[in-house]
Structures are given as structure tokens and as C-alpha cells.
């Protein structure tokens, strides 16, 4: 009997995991545990199952793989730095004071929106609790036994007259809500999943899409502005027969290539915002073509460009659902009784041990 409890290591449990330490190996550990529980109240970010990193005690969230974020930051900082140090003084002298002011405002806006995109929870959905997962499994089994021949683990819902298939996520153990997709890089289901952007080192989803959009738009303006200023600087220097413009080569090259790609990307995302689509849906062609002879339409669009733009960019900011700084519910294990307290095998009978697998603090399925 005791061996059954010792095999379970709470450190490998998915969220919610019990906050108390692993199964006891001796009686004296049981006395220390109440005190340890009071001292070591753990926050939910510490047992978060996705591939994310947390800083400042869960206040800041980052994807574990930062991708090429350092390169993005480096390019922005170096190019802007060269602009402010070399081009601004010349242009202030020859043109106007507004040049560094506009450049400064754009630079600050670009940096802040980049950091917001990178450090904001994109709309991660917490994984299903064991009870919820069991209930869903039961419903899946019932629908199979009922003889209904649907593809395994999908559910059809009608949204604004359009039939949409919801897929079951085996990692998060739930049917994904509409427009939600599981990011393989971050190992999370993200609401209104757009794409995982390696340049910002994070997923782009429901909560940070507006930051991402304003980042690429402001970066387009910033890059175009620097390109324009450097070209003007070059032209004025050629007029004055000056030949030392080595720093401008780097700025021109970076800006020239960036302008085309970033302006293009901004244009593409402006189209997506206006039609209320995500990159994921656009790539998959979810709302183009036909299904069963009927043309498919985007059920989420408000059928009005202005309303689509306002709802995505200026709509209410949804809350983070993962509650990173919340404390793990310590008392949940004790309240549910019936073999739930693994530190005290002496209270259990054989039946209670069989109940352990159904305990809400312990997983019903092995951790993925």
C-alpha cells in the first residue's frame, strides 16, 4: 500500500499540482509538512506546464525560445543609435529640430510595443483540470458508443450560421475553443492564435495582437523615416562634396531591406485586421473556398471594416487566464478526503487507494 503512494512524484504532476512535498519516507517528515506547506506556498507560474520562462515572481512571461529577438533588438538599437548620433546633428543643422523629435517618438513607440508583444501573455489557455479532462473523455466515449460516425475527437458547432469544427487538444486535454491553436514551440493552446513570431520571441494571439500590429506599423514608419533621413543626409553631403559616410552604409542597407519586408508585413496584417482573420486561418484557407457545396464565410467578421479594426485594435483588453501569480490551492487535497492525503497512508483502506487515481490533485493521465 505504501509503495503506491511513494511511486507518485508531485513534481512531475501537471497543473494543478499539490503544493505539499512528495510522499513521506518516514514519520518525522509528516510533522514537518504542515509547517513546510505554510512556508512554501507556491505560485502557479512555478508549476506552469508550458514552455515559458517567468521573471519578477511571475509578473513577466517570456517564451522559452527567444528566437531571434536579440537580433531584432540589436538591429533596432544599433540602427537608431547610429541615426541619432550621426545623422540627427547634421539634419538639425541643415533642416529642422523636428527630425530627432519625430525619430525619438517613433523609436520609443517601437521599443515599447516590441516589449509589450514579447512580454505579454498572448492568450494562453490553462490546461484542463483532471476532473474536466475526465468529463470530456466520458463525453467522447458516449458520442462514440452512440454510433455517431464523426471524426475522432472533433466537435461541430454552428457559429453565426457557419459550421466550425473544434478539435481536441491531446496535450491540454480539452476541445480547443474556436480560433484557438496549439503552439508547438511554446506547448500552449493560445486563443485567437495568429502565429509564433521568432522575431519577437513569442506567440501572437488574442491578448498581444494589437501590440504586434502597432509594433510592425510603427517600425515601418520608423524604418522609412530613418531611410528618408539618411538619404537626405547623403544627398546634402554630396552637394557639399563630403565623402565620409561609412556609418550611413550600414543604416542604408538595414533600412532598405527592412522597409520592403516590414511595410509588406504591415500591409498584410492591415488586410487581416480589416477582414478579422488570423494568419493561421489565412494560410489554411479556412474562410475561402467551399465546404459541402456552400461557400464558407468568416463567421467572426463584423462585416464592416471599421468595426473589425476597432474591435481588434481598440476593443476591451481580455484578462490573462493563466493566473501566474495566484497561489496553488493547498487545501484542495485535504478537503476532498478519501485517500487524498498521501502523507498519511495509515488512514487509507484498500478502496481509498483505488480512489487515488481520481483525486483532483493527481493526474488521471500521464503528464505529457
Amino acid at each position: 500500500m505504501k509503495n503506491d503512494y511513494q511511486q507518485i512524484d508531485p513534481k512531475t504532476l501537471p497543473m494543478p499540482a499539490p503544493s505539499h512535498p512528495p510522499a513521506p519516507r518516514g514519520g518525522d517528515q509528516e510533522e514537518r509538512q504542515p509547517q513546510e506547506q505554510r512556508r512554501k506556498a507556491r505560485r502557479k507560474w512555478q508549476v506552469f506546464p508550458g514552455r515559458n520562462r517567468f521573471f519578477c515572481d511571475g509578473r513577466i512571461i517570456l517564451a522559452r525560445k527567444s528566437g531571434v529577438l536579440p537580433l531584432t533588438l540589436g538591429l533596432i538599437l544599433v540602427t537608431s543609435g547610429l541615426f541619432f548620433v550621426f545623422d540627427c546633428p547634421f539634419l538639425v543643422q541643415h533642416l529642422t529640430m523636428c527630425v530627432p523629435v519625430i525619430g525619438g517618438v517613433l523609436f520609443v513607440f517601437v521599443l515599447i510595443t516590441l516589449l509589450q508583444t514579447t512580454l505579454t501573455d498572448p492568450g494562453i489557455l490553462p490546461r484542463a483540470t483532471p476532473d474536466e479532462a475526465a468529463d470530456i473523455e466520458k463525453q467522447i466515449d458516449e458520442s462514440r458508443n452512440g454510433g455517431y460516425q464523426s471524426p475522432p475527437r472533433t466537435r461541430e458547432v454552428e457559429i453565426n450560421g457557419q459550421v466550425v469544427k473544434l478539435k481536441y487538444c491531446p496535450t491540454c486535454k480539452m476541445f480547443r475553443p474556436p480560433r484557438t491553436s496549439h503552439c508547438r514551440v511554446c506547448d500552449n493552446c493560445v486563443e485567437r492564435f495568429d502565429h509564433h513570431c521568432p522575431w519577437v520571441g513569442n506567440c501572437v494571439g488574442k491578448r498581444n495582437y494589437r501590440f504586434f500590429y502597432f509594433f510592425i506599423v510603427s517600425l515601418s514608419f520608423h524604418t522609412a523615416f530613418i531611410f528618408g533621413c539618411v538619404t537626405t543626409h547623403l544627398a546634402l553631403m554630396i552637394q557639399e562634396h563630403e565623402t565620409s559616410f561609412s556609418h550611413m552604409d550600414l543604416e542604408l542597407v538595414v533600412c532598405f531591406f527592412s522597409v520592403w519586408s516590414i511595410v509588406g508585413l504591415s500591409g498584410f496584417h492591415t488586410y487581416l485586421v480589416a477582414s478579422n482573420r488570423t494568419t493561421n486561418e489565412d494560410i489554411k484557407g479556412s474562410w475561402s473556398g467551399k465546404s459541402g457545396g456552400e461557400p464558407v464565410t468568416n463567421p467572426y467578421s463584423h462585416r464592416n471594416i471599421c468595426k473589425n479594426c476597432c474591435s481588434i485594435l481598440c476593443g476591451p483588453m481580455p484578462p490573462s487566464l493563466i493566473d501566474r501569480r495566484g497561489f496553488l490551492p493547498e487545501d484542495e487535497c485535504v478537503q476532498t478526503g478519501d485517500g487524498g492525503d498521501i502523507e498519511l497512508p495509515v488512514l487509507t483502506t484498500k478502496n481509498e487507494i483505488n480512489m487515488v487515481g481520481k483525486h483532483p490533485c493527481l493526474p488521471l493521465h500521464p503528464a505529457v
Binding site: V157, P177, D338
Partner: protein
């Protein structure tokens, strides 16, 4: 079955007392999201059969409908939300560091509503509603406690 070690007898007693004060969970019912109107937060108002002998159907539907109305208020697209969004954009979203969003204010209202409903209606009937925000706004979890006739469900 192992004998109870003398060092943990105190805890054995404490647990038994806690078991008496908080009746063990019998089962849980999950009210799923209703996506017929899109991705807005809305729960199905269909009355689950497991609650038939526990709570009045109309009362249950009123609770869920009120919840739905509150979430609709939180996600409403209108002058206020656009103003909040524009202000946030102009301040490069730094305003969110200092001010509570309208959505967060409504979520607090929802928590108070659920607590109130639990105290007045559900707890005396051995039921407990869990705030959907604790389940990622996916389900309304209703815990059904065994009817032992010992205290309330909370």
C-alpha cells in the same frame, strides 16, 4: 494496513475532523461554453440532469444568464472600450500598468456575484459554483457534495 505512528496521531485526528466539517466531493458538472454567437464569453443555459433534484431550474438559468450578461458587459464594444483602447495606444499601453481595465473591474463584479449566489442559493443545497476565471473561462464547474446532512458545502 499500517498502524498509526504516535507522531502523526494529532494529524490523523485533525484530518478526521476536517472530513466531518467538509463533506467529500460526490461529482462535478461542467457547463460548457456556448459558441453560437462567436468567441464572446457565453455559457450554455441548458439545465444539467445531475442538478434536477438539487436546485430549481429557473434559478439555475437565471444565474447562468446573469453571468452571460456580465461577461457581455465586460466585452462590449462601444464608446467606453474604444476610448480606453485609444488612450492605451496613445500612451504606448503603459496606462495598463497603472489603471485597471474595464474587463478586470467586471471580473471582480462576477466574483462577488458568484460568491453571493453560492452563499444564498447553492451552498445550502450542497452545491458550489467555481468562478469560470479559475478554469480559463472554459467552463462553469459545479461541485456536488454528498448529502451527509453535516453543515453546508462550504
Amino acid at each position: 494496513m499500517l498502524p498509526c505512528p504516535s507522531s502523526s496521531r494529532g494529524k490523523c485526528k485533525l484530518l478526521r475532523l476536517q472530513e466531518l466539517q467538509t463533506p467529500p466531493v460526490s461529482s462535478k458538472v461542467f457547463i460548457q461554453r456556448d459558441y453560437t454567437s462567436g468567441t464572446i464569453c457565453r455559457f450554455q443555459t441548458k439545465f444539467p440532469s445531475e442538478l434536477e433534484n438539487r436546485v430549481d431550474k429557473q434559478q439555475f438559468e437565471d444565474t447562468i444568464q446573469t453571468l452571460n450578461n456580465l461577461y457581455a458587459e465586460a466585452e462590449k464594444l462601444g464608446g467606453r472600450s474604444y476610448l480606453e483602447g485609444c488612450l492605451a495606444c496613445l500612451t504606448a499601453y503603459t496606462v495598463f500598468l497603472c489603471l485597471e481595465t474595464h474587463y478586470e473591474k467586471v471580473l471582480k463584479k462576477i466574483s462577488r456575484f458568484i460568491k453571493d449566489q453560492n452563499e444564498k442559493i447553492y451552498a445550502p443545497r450542497g452545491l458550489l459554483l467555481t468562478d469560470p476565471i479559475e478554469r480559463g473561462l472554459r467552463v462553469v464547474e459545479i461541485t456536488i457534495f454528498e448529502d451527509r446532512g453535516v453543515g453546508s458545502g462550504r
